[in-house]
């Protein structure tokens, strides 16, 4: 492979990886933006999304086959189901603690993460599950570079979801309410906005996006397991911070950027695949220390 081949190949790989990071990062950023909660369980929501998609597709594929015709409705169903799970979690675990010290709600988030993670582990007896999708790896080959149709659809689907989210936030009344709450929750309450409803909606949308990423990961990689959410949760958080936490375009940008950085970083002869995660976390720490507001984040005066 020539250097150019490697660059094109890694550009594709980085975009795919970045798409997953972005979709998960959006949930982090939205929830953080609105209630200043670092939702530790968000990576596990992605994992649960993959498993819900797995169960649904197992049934749907007998009717509609295991191609895109079966995958698309399964994905939408999984997004809806996991969206409601997100709302449920928010209702049970987070809402009672919204006014409690920050430490309490953070610990609860860790607890929720453990519950989700271990529930799936118990149900699956810790086994990896083969995702029942039947997409081939036909695609376009240019020299040594191979790009499959599935990869193109993945990037396309991510773009569609992001545009939809952008329109939702920018154009609808709910989006407006979300933006308002992130600026001043108490004022919103006084203005008659049903704050609890909007927070629930935020969790719904964030969780759905994570579920979409989970199902897509299942389809794309072909195998899912109970701890697939841990590392991606950390990476997605890193992405959200890179872009500026609380900022929606920031999360999108941060995800893609981290995906590309990782893809190219690991091709450097002196980095190697074994230091890949150190690279990502190191970047996160440096960013948090030197530019905690990220690329597109607002400057924060409040201190906690």
């Amino acid at each position: 492979m020539t250097i150019l081949d490697i660059i094109i190949q890694q550009l594709t790989n980085g975009l795919i990886l970045g798409s997953f990071y972005s979709l998960v990062a959006l949930g982090y950023s939205m929830v953080y933006g609105i209630i200043k909660l670092l939702n530790f369980a968000h990576g596990d929501i992605y994992m649960v999304g993959a498993f819900v998609g797995f169960v649904i597709l197992s049934f749907v594929s007998t009717l509609l086959g295991d191609g895109w015709l079966g995958i698309l409705p399964s994905m939408i169903l999984a997004m809806t189901a996991v969206g409601f799970l997100g709302v449920l979690i928010q209702r049970i675990a987070y809402r009672p603690l919204l006014s409690a010290p920050r430490l309490s709600i953070l610990i609860v988030a860790v607890g929720v993460s453990l519950v989700l993670f271990n529930s799936v582990m118990v149900v699956t007896i810790g086994e990896y599950k083969a995702f029942p999708s039947g997409l081939g790896y036909e695609g376009i080959t240019m020299g040594h570079v191979h790009i499959t149709y599935t990869q193109m659809v993945m990037v396309g689907a991510t773009a569609v979801l992001m545009i939809a989210l952008h329109l939702f936030i920018a154009k609808t009344i709910y989006g407006k309410a979300m933006r308002a709450i992130s600026i001043d929750m108490d004022a919103c309450r006084l203005m008659g906005i049903d704050v609890n409803k909007i927070i629930a909606l935020t969790f719904f949308v964030g969780s759905s996006l994570a579920a979409a990423a989970g199902v897509m990961a299942g389809v794309y990689y072909g195998s899912i397991h109970f701890f697939m959410g841990f590392v991606i949760g950390l990476k997605a958080f890193t992405s959200a911070v890179i872009g500026g936490i609380g900022s929606i375009p920031g999360a999108m940008l941060g995800g893609l950027l981290l995906g590309l950085l990782e893809s190219f970083g690991t091709q450097l002869p002196w980095v190697g695949t074994e230091w890949k995660d150190v690279f990502a976390f190191g970047l996160l720490i440096l960013l948090l220390v030197f530019k905690p507001t990220g690329i597109l984040g607002r400057t924060e005066i409040e201190r906690m």
Partner: protein
């Protein structure tokens, strides 16, 4: 001081359990009675090896080890109010210091302890120094990241750490010519560590620094306005917590004779944190109860095995919502 004759109005409405708590408090309020109970507990702990089998001793030694770790993390989370999700990294620093120095440089076990203290302080300053200025939730994720970096580094620095297989065949410590190789030796060693840790924790809690931590935890800005250097105070908590874990790690390496990066995964940090929260953040007896509960519960209810962490997760969430002070009740005065 609660007076038995005139219960406070709130107590009248509380459930039977809370009433019992109240009565226990009244009972233990006398210093002499508390001393008596403490003395009896120590006596019981000292005499267990005379009657218990090696399995019981193994489990209790393991509990002692977690009590020390919990007391250390308690300084960070309970006293100073900083969420640390990578505490296992400090425990790894201690364990690897002892492992590497004894097996590759032929150091005496006891000499590795000051070295481990030194490296724990360095690690605490490196991790804490730049990050303690951050908001608490950022700090949580940074510590998580550092925990992972430490584990991956331990796995990749093969020449020094033995890579993924870790260090095997670490020499056991000797004490005045007696090689510590029986489980009851370690039972007493870790028991002494617990006593030391309790003593240090107690003194810290009631020191000037302890009060400063409390102010910073309750209201950071107010504390700063009162002339407390909030970053320095947090850094002290962080570094002292690191030293607790580092020293515990030395003895862990000596007892197990084998360490590998897998021991220091995120789950290890989460487990310790869980014990701290369950026991009751900031309370020394709470740490003992929390660590004991964490180790004994799965041993007694062996069948639940894999459901263990699930149960703990649920308990953790419910605890924070319904009883944020933990198992050990709050002292009221």
């Amino acid at each position: 001081m609660a007076e038995p004759s005139t219960p406070p109005p709130a107590a009248a409405a509380t459930s039977g359990l809370a009433g019992l708590e109240e009565r226990l408090f009244v009972f233990f309020d006398k210093r002499s009675r508390r001393r008596l109970v403490q003395g009896l507990l120590v006596l019981a702990a000292v005499s267990i090896p005379l009657v218990g089998d090696s399995y019981l001793l193994e489990i209790l030694t393991n509990s002692f080890f977690y009590i020390v770790l919990c007391l250390g993390l308690n300084i960070v989370v309970g006293y100073a109010g900083l969420l640390d999700l990578g505490y296992a990294a400090f425990f790894a620093v201690g364990a690897y210091t002892t492992g590497i120095l004894t097996s590759q440089f032929d150091w005496n076990f006891w000499l590795t302890i000051p070295a481990a203290v030194f490296f724990s302080i360095i690690a605490g300053v490196i991790i804490g120094g730049p990050t303690l200025r951050l908001r608490s939730d950022y700090l949580a994720i940074v510590t998580l990241g550092f925990g992972e970096i430490t584990r991956i580094a331990a796995r990749n620095l093969k020449e020094l750490t033995g890579g993924a297989s870790g260090l095997i065949g670490i020499n056991r410590p000797s004490f005045f010519g007696l090689e510590l190789n029986q489980i009851h030796h370690y039972y007493y060693v870790f028991f002494i560590l617990v006593l030391l840790a309790v003593f240090v924790s107690f003194r810290l809690q009631h020191s000037r620094l302890g009060r400063a931590w409390q102010y910073v935890r309750e209201d950071e800005d107010a504390a700063e306005a009162m002339g407390i250097d909030r970053v320095a105070v947090k850094l002290y908590a962080y570094v002292i917590g690191a030293v607790f874990a580092g020293v515990a790690g030395c003895f862990f390496a000596g007892k197990m004779t084998a360490i590998s990066p897998e021991t220091f995964q995120f789950m290890q940090s989460a487990t310790i944190l869980m014990a701290v929260v369950l026991g009751g953040m900031g309370k020394i007896p709470g740490m003992i109860v929390g660590a004991l509960a964490l180790i004994l519960f799965p041993e007694i209810f062996r069948e639940i095995g894999s459901v263990r962490m699930l149960v703990f997760g649920v308990v953790l969430v419910m605890m924070m919502i319904f009883r944020p002070q933990g198992i050990w009740p709050e002292r009221r005065n």
